[in-house]
């Protein structure tokens, strides 16, 4: 038996012991999202139970349905493990006690069950039949939310490092062929075939080669990489080791954004454990393969997601992109051949090696193989992190998995691919989500952020939001991006203020085209996408802003005013008391009124009115606007 087999056997023994032990175990989803929802006080409350009730608490990552956070799972010997959602600190102890002491599984509070090892029966459906999880295919996320990300043995007990052990007995060329055959494409956005990238880099003569894991997940509204790192860091690190072996690299870097402190912490702990277990450093698992990994923290620059900018940043410089070619595969970090792969790409590699390229290629479409994670957020009922085969339709994602639109409003569009992506209207709901198709529709896959928007979202405002983002994040190196995004933003600002003119259409299109054609890197080239797609699919909304001076979604503050509907108003004085600028007047039990010259549109009256008597009315209908 090899050393590795011994490691695995020991890990499996402790994993089995944890799941068969008499002492109950509480698994708490403690990734960043769980923490934001308040899982830490929940854990504290459960800890207090320990005085009277023996139990163990294990912090796990996120299983995906973020809208149900905080999520805990209660394991009880001889009974199914049950997941509970939206657990708040005040009821946490009660839920745990009810199940553990009173034997009440509380089906009303449960979100699903895991079948227990001895197959005991329960009326609570399986967690995998939960509507949000059922339509998913979890490959890269298979361990997320189920294992302790800080315990390397949990990973080892769940096929962890099997793929590494396997490749160490394979020729590097065979490993690359396997990845090529799987059809895996870069999950960071551009979708370049991973195997090909590895092959090009390996072919370079320079023996000093590097691998970089791009964990600079900068798209606003996306958190796939964060969740994966926080839930299963070893999967990513195993992929990084395999990439290092395949191209014969001397060292690997992880470039992780500083806004993800917990992910950085998880990586650090994982690296420490890897070294302890002989999975990092000299002669990994007794082989000839030696490899080091260094973690570099980003410092807050979106453009560093671009590979040449990222490399500059690793070398301690301003993160500015440069002209390609030469590509990083020829001239990367320290001028040496370098492979840069996204977190999810690397996280997928071990599964492909373990199960074979044929198995992986079964999922997805002809040109987009495998599965992809998406963060599903915005105006959606069930928001969270999902993984589906590429080619899954938007309808499945929005309705089957996401449960439809929040508060049953009208589904208007999705915004996919972040600031580089586009807005795709609801009419394309039956289109499959894959690289080619999204490009065809004018968006990009990007890293997989899907933001759902409803009739309350103004697409012109959304386009302006993204331009504000790219204008702010433009590194300033090339003129089309530096000045172009600024001018495009100015135009959009003018339009949302109701100061647009009909000539602006032509100007918008021309400018968008120039920026896209003339920019140096991906940031600039794709920056106009949000404008181009909204102009294509929602031209009428631009017309409404420019010609009619109306914002149909009542978002653009210069185009609407608040008025009190005198018939509905109950004269409760809430709005008058809460208005920060004293714009509301009216006597108790008498209809109130708003002085629109004083109003700062803070929305306080609108959101707090118990009678829903405050209306947003187009300004043009109330005041005569001269133009």
């Amino acid at each position: 038996m090899t050393d590795f087999d011994t490691l695995v056997q020991k890990a499996k023994r402790s994993w089995d012991k944890l799941h068969a032990q008499k002492t109950p175990v509480i698994y708490a989803g403690a990734a960043s999202c769980g923490r934001a929802a308040g899982v830490l006080p929940v854990i504290e409350a459960i800890k207090e139970l320990k005085a009277t009730l023996p139990l163990e608490i294990v912090e796990v990552g996120c299983i995906g349905p973020c809208y149900l956070e905080p999520i805990i799972a209660v394991q009880k010997k001889g009974h199914p493990t049950i997941f509970y959602g939206n657990v708040q600190a005040i009821q946490a102890a009660e839920i745990v006690e009810n199940y553990l002491v009173k034997n009440d599984p509380q089906p009303d509070k449960a979100i699903g069950a895991l079948s227990s090892p001895n197959g005991s029966e329960t009326t609570i459906p399986s967690i995998w039949d939960h509507p949000m999880l059922k339509a998913q295919k979890r490959i890269v996320l298979k361990n997320c939310g189920l294992i302790d990300p800080q315990n390397i043995e949990h990973y080892l007990a769940n096929d962890g490092y099997q793929a590494l052990n396997k490749v160490l007995q394979m020729k590097p060329e065979t490993v690359i062929q396997e990845i090529t055959d799987s059809g895996l494409r870069g999950r960071g956005g551009a979708g370049f075939p991973t195997g090909l990238k590895w092959k090009f880099t390996r072919a370079e003569k320079d023996p000093e080669k590097y691998v970089i894991c791009n964990a600079d997940e900068g798209d606003p509204g996306a958190f796939m990489n964060r969740s994966l790192i926080e839930g299963d860091p070893h999967a990513v690190l195993e992929g990084l080791l395999i990439a290092g072996y395949a191209i014969s690299a001397v060292k690997g870097y992880i470039y992780c954004r500083a806004e993800y402190p917990l992910a950085i912490q998880r990586f650090r702990k994982a690296l420490k454990d890897m070294r302890k277990f002989g999975l990092l450093g000299e002669n990994i698992l007794g082989s000839d393969f030696s490899f080091e990994i260094e973690l570099k923290e980003g410092a807050g620059a979106f453009v560093c997601g671009e590979e040449t900018a990222l490399i500059a940043s690793i070398m301690g410089e301003r993160g500015m992109p440069r002209q390609k070619p030469p590509y990083p595969s020829q001239h990367g970090v320290w001028g040496k051949p370098t492979v840069i792969n996204n977190v999810e790409t690397l996280g997928t590699v071990p599964a492909i090696i373990r199960n074979g390229s044929k198995w992986y290629a079964r999922f997805g479409t002809e040109k987009s193989k495998g599965t992809k994670t998406f963060s599903l957020v915005g105006k959606i009922r069930r928001s969270g992190l999902i993984e589906v085969p590429l080619g899954t339709t938007l309808r499945t994602v929005i309705y089957d998995i996401g449960g439809g639109i929040y508060e049953d409003k009208e589904f208007k569009a999705i915004q996919v691919g972040g600031p580089s992506g586009g807005t795709i209207p609801a009419a394309f709901m039956d289109e499959p989500l894959d690289y080619e198709n999204l490009n065809k529709l004018g968006a990009i896959m990007g890293s997989g952020g899907i933001v759902v928007i409803d009739s309350d979202t103004c697409v012109v405002d959304l386009a302006r939001y993204f331009l504000q983002f790219t204008e702010n994040e433009s590194c300033g190196k090339c003129v089309p991006c530096r000045i172009g995004t600024k001018q495009l933003l100015n135009l959009l600002t003018k339009i949302v203020k109701g100061e647009g003119t009909i000539d602006d259409f032509e100007l918008l299109e021309e400018l968008a085209h120039t920026i896209s054609e003339g920019s140096l890197c991906g940031l600039g080239k794709t920056a106009p996408n949000p404008v181009i797609t909204t102009l294509t699919y929602f031209r009428d909304e631009y017309v409404a802003h420019i010609v009619d001076k109306r914002c149909p979604a009542k978002v653009c503050k210069d185009l609407f005013v608040y008025v009190v509907d005198a018939e509905t108003c109950i004269g409760c004085e809430i709005c008058r008391k809460r208005c920060p600028v004293g714009a509301v007047s009216g006597e108790k039990k008498q209809p109130h009124s708003i002085d629109i010259t004083k109003c700062i549109k803070c929305d306080v009256c609108f959101t707090n009115c118990p009678a829903k008597a405050i209306r947003k009315v187009d300004k043009v209908d109330v005041i005569h606007v001269s133009h």
Binding site: A36, A37, D219, G221, E297, A299, A301, V377, T607
Partner: protein, 182 residues
Amino acid sequence: MTSDSLKIIHHDFKLSDNVIKKIHKILVKHENDPRNIIQILQDIQAEFHYLAEPVISFIAKELAISEHRIYGVATFYSQFKFVKPGKHQIRVCMGTACHVRGAQSLLDKICRELHIQPGETTKDGLFSIESVYCLGCCALAPVMVIDDNVFGNMSAAKVTKILRKYRRANAPRKTPAKGGGK
């Protein structure tokens, strides 16, 4: 990159022996290598909360590089601060999901409440506000973070309550007539 990061203000930051000792420790950790300047500045900021001018001058001399090179790198990245932040740093997420769920109103409300703009610190030094792009908790949008505490599903109404809590925790306690407390 952002205009506020260029706002370099003079402070009476003293390079005491203790401060110099701390800086040296950080430089040694990063092998006195200018190629590690980003990590050095990150550790400096973690220690002193911002990049004070005398500290940058000192590092430049120690590493035998120009101050320009350090400022060139530091001002490129939005993480680095050149003005002293408040005791409690409020970060409001302006990511897409937060944007469509009303992050702007939330930020406006906090600014009104504290009478400062993003990038500024309150007069009492208690709070500073920053707007950031995406903290990765999109499902709980809109989100704000005070120091390391994340507040999800925020609303303008919740702001007052939360800030009040922080203010109370920092209010000067009435000192007992006779000592005894630790």
